[in-house]
């Protein structure tokens, strides 16, 4: 059961981000991870929330389209080279990584990483075989 992420198109305007987070806030949706990247024209906000279906609904009510996608959330060991190990493993097995962002989970102060890859099932199997923790629930 992969973790769901939402991608939302954000115009390059002041207050555009707040509109999304406010929508979540009003609907009592907890934002677990968030990342925003931009080009000259737009931004894409990517987020993992505690209730994806409700989040999509509350965005739709406001005319905001969100794309659901499956992502990998990992909890690698906090040691030198652990990221390199993950990236190498995926690369050597022909898996392409689209983007990565990290977030901290307060309850255990672990730094989790979100990876968007083109072959999720294969990546998951590979990583688990190597003993890298794949998070099933954020």
């Amino acid at each position: 059961m992969a973790i769901k992420q939402l991608s939302i198109l954000i115009p390059n305007e002041k207050g555009a981000l707040a509109e999304v987070t406010e929508a979540f806030c009003d609907a009592d949706i907890d934002v677990r991870a968030i990342s925003v990247s931009d080009t000259t024209e737009y931004g894409i906000l990517r987020t993992v929330v505690d209730d994806t279906e409700r989040a999509v609904k509350c965005l739709e009510e406001r005319g905001i389209v969100a794309k659901k996608s499956d992502i990998l959330a990992l909890n690698p060991e906090d040691k030198k080279g652990s990221l390199t190990e993950i990236f190498k493993l995926l690369g050597q097995n022909g898996i392409n990584i689209d983007y990565v962002y990290s977030f901290v989970v307060r309850k255990n102060e672990a730094q989790y990483f979100v990876l968007k890859v083109d072959d999720l099932a294969k990546a998951e199997t590979l990583l688990e075989e190597k003993g890298i923790e794949v998070i099933k629930n954020i």
Partner: protein, 439 residues
């Protein structure tokens, strides 16, 4: 100081002589289209008219109008009145949808065209003494080649520069001692700006005497700016591909309207709402019947340009009727840097593109002196949010499609669905900020 040079004495005929020539040529044209163009024959029959019913110039109003859509309905060559083997040239301009408006010329049409443009450039002041730089884009657009032929006809030395590559344009002007500039008024202003940037004062360091501007409308304020900046004398001229190209009308140095070459282009002014013919001095839509063309004679073409006609005496000595500066359009056509753009062309591109919604907004604005266009569309398919790559590819796809159809670069902006205004009545999808800026 109005120059007395007139290219052809036919521009100075008495009114009665004009009427005689016009009637004779009109009758021949009506015969020609009735017998050779099925589309016209059908239109005439719908109205119960035979060529024999046209006996005076007043009978002109019995004839059906021709509109841009007739070109689309008979695309590409259905309005031509000669077989292809008699044609020697094609040109094309914007259509209201993806297909362009195609026009064609016989050998005689080419001679007529040269003659018409020769009259216009002579009116503007150009002689065989001049070196004329044409900074219109060469190609299917009639402006560049049309002026090229007419300028050669009067014996001017032509530099077929085409548009763009502004620094090189200025270098050529400097090195070749260009005396006449042919371009859109906005591109001329842009060129002057670039010249100043590279340390050249267009008025002092160059040799320009005449500016022949066309392809888009301009204001008296723009004229003054062009004259002062370049140190030249500017006139504007008028034409359109459907009628021939440049050479339909042009300003003489008295600057009191554009003389229409009415021995070949018969003008009327109509009320755009009712189609009723209006009198001298009344403002309405210009309608032109081509009365000398062979390849593509056009009956009562609705130009959609709003103007008025004046028959009073002009101090240049020409007796041809004059049309006032174009005041606007009776349709939604936009002119961007001399390129005609119909919102319907853009709509067609957007509707046929997957992943975006049917709503759109067109913003037209000026960046410096240049016209720019932005098309705002709603992203309907969230799948494109997977990655920037997908989003950028969609953006590029729309851009490329617009470029193919419009022939110019549009900025494309994707927004969230339901961002753009919805209209219950007549949609107002075009925002032309240039008008605001001009105020």
């Amino acid at each position: 100081m109005v120059q007395a040079r007139i290219w052809n004495k036919e521009e100075t005929l008495e009114r009665e002589q004009f009427r005689e020539i016009q009637l004779k040529r009109l009758k021949a044209t009506v015969e020609r289209v009735y017998n050779n163009v099925p589309h016209y024959k059908a239109k005439f029959r719908e109205r119960g008219i035979l060529p024999g019913d046209i006996n005076t110039l007043e009978d002109l109003k019995k004839l059906p109008f021709t509109v841009k859509a007739d070109f689309r309905d008979t695309y590409p060559c259905g309005l031509f009145s000669v077989p292809k083997k008699e044609l020697v040239r094609f040109h094309a301009s914007s259509g209201t949808t993806g297909k362009p408006t195609v026009v064609g010329y016989t050998r005689n049409d080419m001679s007529l065209w040269r003659e018409m443009v020769a009259r216009i450039v002579t009116m503007a002041g150009v002689t065989e003494e001049d070196t004329a730089q044409i900074s219109f884009g060469y190609g299917l657009f009639t402006g560049a080649l049309g002026l090229n032929q007419g300028l050669e006809e009067v014996g001017a030395a032509v530099i077929p520069m085409s548009s763009g590559n502004t620094k090189k344009q200025i270098m050529m002007m400097q090195d070749m001692e260009t005396t006449a500039l042919i371009s859109t008024p906005s591109y001329a202003l842009h060129m002057a700006e670039i010249a100043k940037e590279i340390g050249i004062d267009p008025a002092k360091d160059l040799h320009l005497k005449w500016g022949l501007f066309g392809g888009e409308g301009s204001t008296e304020a723009m004229r003054k700016e062009l004259n002062d900046t370049w140190g030249l004398f500017s006139t504007e001229n008028y034409g359109m591909s459907e009628l021939m190209g440049p050479g339909v009308a042009g300003e003489c140095q008295a600057l009191c309207g554009m003389h229409i070459n009415e021995d070949h282009f018969l003008p009327e002014i109509i009320n755009p709402e009712t189609g009723e013919v209006l009198g001298e001095g009344e403002v309405g839509e210009l309608v032109i019947t081509t009365i000398s063309k062979e390849g593509l004679p056009i009956i009562r073409y609705r130009t959609k340009d709003i103007t008025s006609l004046s028959y009073d005496k002009c101090q240049c000595g020409r007796t041809t009727v004059r049309m006032a500066k174009i005041q606007g359009r009776s349709d939604d056509m936009l002119i961007l840097g001399g390129v005609n753009v119909f919102p319907s062309q853009i709509e067609e591109v957007l509707i046929s593109t997957k992943g975006i919604g049917p709503h759109y907004q067109i913003k037209v604005f000026k960046k410096g002196y240049l016209d720019k266009i932005e098309v705002v569309v709603e992203l309907a398919d969230a799948d494109f949010l997977d990655s920037f790559g997908k989003l950028e590819n969609l953006n590029k796809l729309i851009k490329n499609r617009l470029k193919t159809v419009l022939g110019l670069d549009a900025k494309v902006t994707l927004v969230q669905p339901r961002t753009l205004e919805r209209f219950e009545g007549k949609a107002k999808r075009v925002i032309d900020l240039r008008k605001e800026e001009a105020k």
